[in-house]
Amino acid sequence: QQPVQSPQAVILREGEDAVINCSSSKALYSVHWYRQKHGEAPVFLMILLKGGEQKGHDKISASFNEKKQQSSLYLTASQLSYSGTYFCGTQGSGGYQKVTFGIGTKLQVIP
């Protein structure tokens, strides 16, 4: 079952912050975040594992709340290069190899 992402789309001005949420109705073992620019392949951002993990690099970070079966991606002081569609992908403890993606959140950063 695919995870649910919100919001579906967001427009930011450069320097503003954004939060993208991902939730699942099933127990999760891990959450993967990818960014895809138009016409390109998804690019891996980070994996979070169960246990309340938080990660980040540069101004993009994420958290995973295993109990709530939710993950959030935080983009701080957004740059034009952050524009793209952000997908969360989830892996359950069952079919542990495949990643099931949400429909994506389209992020546009404008000057």
């Binding site: 891996f44 190899q97 993606f101």
Partner: protein, 115 residues
């Protein structure tokens, strides 16, 4: 930096024809995947492959689809008799170990257009 490569970048075919999409995974990776993305929609899992066998497949991956690792470097997806609804971007991915802790690296994709 090693990367997954895919050929061709764009394939146009007539409905009912067979197509083979090719991928060269990262050389020391052991798990291979195919995903597809219909224009404007989400990425969908098709199949995973390990140790020369399919380890998992989705409901999309029916009898028209097959995968093969014909040699030590290539990983192919064959669609036997293409349908209009097979038009999509097909991504190959590979990971070192598989499992939920391992990153899947995506190739640039092959855009398949079925006329």
């Amino acid at each position: 930096e090693p990367e997954v490569t895919q050929t061709p970048s764009h394939q146009v075919t007539q409905m009912g024809q067979e197509v083979i999409l090719r991928c060269v995974p990262i050389s020391n990776h052991l798990y291979f995947y195919w995903y597809r993305q219909i224009l404007g929609q989400k990425v969908e899992f098709l199949v995973s492959f390990y140790n020369n066998e399919i380890s998992e497949k989705s409901e999309i991956f029916d009898d028209q689809f097959s995968v093969e690792r014909p040699d030590g470097s290539n990983f192919t997806l064959k669609i036997r008799s293409t349908k209009l609804e097979d038009s999509a971007m097909y991504f190959c991915a590979s990971s070192l170990r598989g499992g939920p802790t391992d990153t899947q690296y995506f190739g640039p994709g092959t855009r398949l257009t079925v006329l």
